[in-house]
Point group: C2
Chain length 716, copies 2
């Protein structure tokens, strides 16, 4: 379905309107524009920070009410508690799926594949709209609060990107929330930079990992990364960190309900294992391999299921989507409540006053050692400790140090299998869903399992199961998402322990390598499924022996003459779906000359405004004193929306008989490559510069000049 | 002096030798090559790790001997101690300057400007040779061990880059240490990737900051960063971290002499201030401003002095350089020993058993509270604590928490002024010298000063002077070096405290902004001074209104015909210094056609080997079955050395009468731009793809095909 997907133009289109604006503005305006960019980076940071705080407070409060209610009821009746628990979850999930299906369909899922696509140069319809933002925020409160096997991190990244994009286009025009004053960014390049900031801000907010955020954005958008952008992204992330910190400080005084004790992801393992012996590298490598295998399997399973959903289930309409999610919610609640019931409780370990960990934990509080369906007061249910809990809390328990032998292998295995299955099934339903936290859950479970074996085998005191859980989490994420540097930094930032960095690095490298042997990363697979054609950073092998001409096949280029009849424009535009056309002129001595590239969207603007129509097919005087009939901003297409279509434009019979001189509106210098350049070089050019169209032209007949480094060293 | 500076060719030159090799090798070879790349990344990591360990152990041992000797002597006579101290330092410094002046002149200074230049695309002669590596390692042991106001971090980065480059060319040919087996990398692109790894490894080793290393390399080489490279760089850094960790674990048992207690930079501030109030942001911003000002001043002063040295002092030969360094060494020793003598000792603070800090410290050990020239045993000399100490130790003392009121404002101010002056004067002398550690010294001194005022002003207990010292260090480095993200991560990694990240970020942003108002970063200034023409990431403002043709001026392009007489080649090559020439052919109907670009270095190889000479000016059959007379590796220029020159080649009179058909040797598809493309676009193309030559050609007469994203989505 190439129809719904459009490429972005990262190129500056140097048509006359642009040149006019450049000439008018001068240098001072440039400083102003830079100032605005920084101001926007600030706003994005603040906005994303607040969105994250809002989502977290809401989720924590819903979850807190839910668990305290359930716990107080099960003191009397387990069955009544079970029903209340299921209904509470169902209500939250229902609200989420309702928002998604009826208000903001583009807000379903994690949004990261789409954002990745956007940064790679593909505009997916609907992903950066105001309603998507709203749907994402409220939808993920419902789905995460409702206890599904999904996280809020992917949605937060999407939220950050939406905020950035909306700021970039000066608010939402549809909801009359826009402001002319804010509309300074007229090029898709500026907007993409803003979205990059937003994306980093989202990661920074989701994980409280500012450096991780910068690197995440970086790993995805390497193609047009510039150091100024890096700096701005960095600034945005720092702002997010400060906003979140201030909000949490404010909440610490108890003003935010249940929030404050749990909330933002920070699984501090700073009192974990500091030293590791050489022998431990082997079990750690094993964790890496397991992570690679389970991650690749996860990608493959979710791919099948999503495929099936798209082609079969979700075609049946919204009702089916809602029923599906509700069913999954009930199953999830039933399993997480029911399974621990079958598990025999364990007596609390000897009280260790130094560690300061209570067993069982005080009712309704966060902590280890949940007393659930136990006969004695001095017992705890290890399965309930991870299953009947918010995910954040469960992870904290799995990561926790000084709680050796807390979990039995049997419970961990049960949990691993059940949760893995739930995560696979939940993925791709019509609710906002992130895969980070579920991934960490899965990974830390088998990590802790491996850790238990290591502890039993080596019998050393300084080995902590929690550290292995952390490595397991990293390995699963690496095996599924295949990010390396950013993931590593995020793991370090969320666990607040720099000493484990080399271990995390090595585990990630192994799990990514193993995963890569089977399939692509989760986001790439999903993007492909959604018809988002991501360009990888590296040209394919066979491109080395192909030329640019081979890539074009024997296509007949659709072009426009410089002065063209309106009716011809209409018929050409109707006859194909191309978005860019070369414009050809004739010189005095009858030779042809390529004068530039015209975009379909610009042609449509010209057809709609009609001011450039002329009666005769004579050419105007380009470059001279053209009357300025267009503002640069008229040519800008709104982000992630359909834009104009040729069918929307009404042209009278008289209009159709008129002519337009296209010369002032073309991009006069699109990138060109000679026909026999190897395709891998063309690929690099295309991807590094973030292009949309390249002209393949015959070899030149002469060289007018050479440009080397020296020619580009112009002093201010 | 454009003569000594050459650009690097990042482009793959698809001449016939390359195409032959590609065709022969097939896909399996590609996997082999990838394997070798990873293996080399491993070797670089191990090599750099060991180099770092070696340098650190040596420096720590020399410094340890020096201080324990001096301390034992001053028990009897301060004057004898003074003389021994000066002589010890002088001997070390003398060995260093001797190595540099007589053996490896390219190893002077930090090397970072040159490495930065290399990654930007400029090859400076001599910087990546084996002798430079040796000179750098031993020279920096002498200069750092000798107590000069410089650090070993810049040199370590250079060391890493040298190791990588030597590996990449398969060892040093000059010293017969090369191996054919290792010579797999035939393109400058591969080598540059290796050097990127080496550079990251150097940073990772210097600061034990693996993520910081990745980011440092990244900030410098953003133009051709690819995610595979990122991954490999990351791997190298992780290896370095592991190697260093293993070595330190091994040393902990006391096998490395004085090393083990001090050594690698890790100034743990994890027990420092965790919380900061909103009000504290103001003094922190002040620190940022001071950092910007002092950093910019540092850059400016060092610029003047270096300029003066280059144009005047160092022209007088090696003797002057040696005398200069020795003089500076004596002055430094005299000041660091002498000034504390004038300082009155302070009584030790009330013993605080919890903090576990001894006062005065045990003689000869590392720690706070140095008893130096004090009348009582229970006193310490606060100036000696920072001045009469290794820099690493002094920084540890400045950063230390729980030692409030340890330093008097007077001492700190004295130290700041003296050390700043010493650092400025030492910069640019003929010894290996890094600016990181001196920068941290300077910054943390004024940071701690500000911290003292804050403590006095706000009178809050949780405010730690050490934290302000850390922020001061970050601010000075930011104000001088102007890196942001990588510096921030490095600061966090060396201080092992993630909680301070947002503060460090904000301070860095302020200090960089303030510094940028005055001048360029330290490395950029120095690179410019050395005639290394760095291309910034952003085109200059006026390039927007210039075209490609404007940049060429009215230069007359020097070109070669396809079949050319040897004597013509010689005369053309002698007539200019250009390194690339278009090759023009004639079609049957008499039109000209640009068939590619030939490099001077390739022409010289052809002239030297003579195997391609032919008697008649007839063209061969390109693309057909050419006899393979050249191996791709023959065309590769050795790194950072002069390469062939036209004067080195002897050609007989018969040779000069022969012809060469250049067609098989040209790069058939260099990048071309139409003459009226705006120069800022050309700039982006040039810089993003790391090019060396661009052809400016006339507008095309027709478009053969369009390439869009869809054409590049070829499945494997
Ligand atoms: N003006 C044109 N004339 C002929 N073929 C074209 C033209 N533009 C694009 N093509 C070819 O048509 C195929 C489909 O491209 P498509 O029309 O989707 O490009 P586009 O819509 O201009 O760009 P995108 O879809 O990336 O936004 C490609 O193979 C491309 O090479
Ligand atoms: N073949 C050529 N004919 C004419 N002018 C050239 C040619 N090559 C380069 N120039 C011009 O000469 C000037 C000096 O360039 P220079 O000769 O140093 O380039 P180079 O040596 O080929 O590349 P570099 O110095 O970057 O390695 C530049 O302005 C450049 O445009
Ligand atoms: Mg299209
Ligand atoms: Mg040159």
């Amino acid at each position: 379905d190439g129809g719904t997907v459009e490429s972005l133009d990262y190129e500056v289109i140097e048509n006359y309107a642009y040149r006019e604006e450049q000439a008018q503005r001068g240098r001072l305006y440039m400083y102003y524009a830079v100032g605005v960019k920084w101001f926007f980076a600030l706003l994005i940071g603040i906005g994303t920070g607040f969105a994250a705080v809002f989502i977290n407070i809401s989720v924590e409060n819903f979850a807190g009410w839910k668990y305290s209610l359930t716990f107080s009821i099960i003191q009397k009746s387990y069955f009544a508690g079970f029903v209340v628990y299921i209904l509470f979850n169902l209500a939250l999930v229902l609200s989420s799926v309702y928002i998604i299906t009826h208000f903001a369909p583009a807000a379903a899922g994690s949004g990261i594949p789409e954002i990745k696509g956007y940064l790679n140069g593909i505009d997916t319809r609907g992903i950066l709209l105001f309603r998507t933002l709203i749907g994402k925020i409220f939808g993920s409160i419902g789905s995460v609060g409702g206890g599904l096997a999904l996280g809020k991190e992917g949605p937060l990244v999407h939220t950050g990107a939406c905020i950035a994009s909306l700021l970039g286009q000066g608010g939402s025009t549809k909801y009359h929330l826009s402001s002319r004053w804010l509309q300074v960014f007229n090029s898709e390049r500026d907007r993409r930079d803003l979205v990059t900031c937003g994306c980093a801000a989202g990661v920074a907010a989701a994980f409280r990992a500012p450096v991780g955020g910068v690197l995440f954005a970086l790993e995805e958008v390497t193609s047009w990364w510039r150091s100024q952008l890096m700096w701005r992204v960095f600034f945005t992330s720092a702002i997010v960190a400060v906003v979140v910190r201030i909000a949490m400080g404010w909440c610490r005084s108890g003003k935010c309900g249940h929030f404050g004790s749990g909330g933002f992801i920070i699984w501090d393992v700073s009192d974990g294992q500091e030293d590791y012996s050489f022998m431990e590298l082997l079990p750690m490598a094993v964790i890496g391999v397991i992570g690679g295998l389970l991650g690749a399997l996860f990608n493959q399973l979710t791919l099948y299921i999503t495929n099936w959903r798209r082609n079969y289930l979700h075609k049946k309409g919204n009702r089916v989507k809602i029923i599906e999610v509700c069913l999954i919610s009930v199953i999830t609640s039933a399993i997480s409540f029911g399974l621990p019931l079958f598990r025999k409780c364990t007596p609390c370990p000897e009280a260790d006053i130094n560690a300061g960990i209570e067993c069982p934990r005080a009712p309704g509080m966060y902590g280890n050692y949940v007393n659930f369906f136990c006969s004695s007061k001095k017992e705890y249910n290890d399965l309930a400790t991870i299953f009947f809990n918010t995910q954040d809390d469960a992870i904290r328990n799995l990561f926790s140090a000084k709680t050796i032998h807390e979990f039995s292998a049997q419970s961990l295995l049960t949990f691993l299998v059940m949760f893995y299955a739930l995560a696979v099934v939940t993925f791709g339903t019509a609710v906002p869903a992130g895969q980070f936290v579920p991934g960490i859950m899965i990974g830390s479970t088998y990590g802790r399992l491996v850790g238990m074996f290591v502890v039993n085998f080596y019998k050393k005191l300084n080995i902590e199961e929690g550290t292995y859980a952390l490595l397991g989490a990293a390995s699963f994420l690496g095996g599924s998402m295949r990010m390396t540097v950013s993931l590593c930094v995020i793991m370090v930032e969320i666990t607040n322990n720099l000493k484990l960095l080399p271990l995390i690095m090595l585990v990630l490298l192994i799990s990514k390598a193993v995963g890569d042997a089977f399939n692509e990363g989760l986001y790439e697979e999903q993007a492909r499924l959604r018809g988002i054609p991501l360009l990888e950073s590296r040209p394919k092998y066979q491109m080395r022996s192909m030329t640019a001409k081979d890539a074009c096949g024997n296509q007949k280029v659709v072009y426009f003459p410089r002065v063209v009849k309106v009716s011809d424009i209409v018929s050409i535009l109707r006859s194909n779906l191309h978005n860019g056309f070369p414009v050809i002129d004739h010189t005095r001595n009858g030779e042809t000359l390529v004068i530039g590239l015209i975009l379909r969207s610009h042609l449509l603007v010209l057809l709609q405004s009609k001011v450039d129509f002329q009666h005769s097919p004579l050419t105007g005087d380009v470059g001279g004193t053209l009357p300025i009939r267009h503002n640069l901003s008229e040519f800008v297409k709104p982000v992630s929306s359909k834009g104009l279509s040729i069918d929307d434009i009404y042209l009278s019979q008289d209009d159709l008989e008129m002519y337009i001189d296209l010369a002032p509106f073309v991009n006069p210098s699109p990138y060109v490559v000679p026909e026999d350049m190897s395709l891998s070089k063309v690929y690099n050019l295309f991807r590094q510069l973030g292009l949309r169209h390249i002209f393949v032209v015959p070899r030149a007949s002469r060289v007018i000049g050479m440009i080397t480094r020296k020619d580009l060293l112009i002093e201010d």
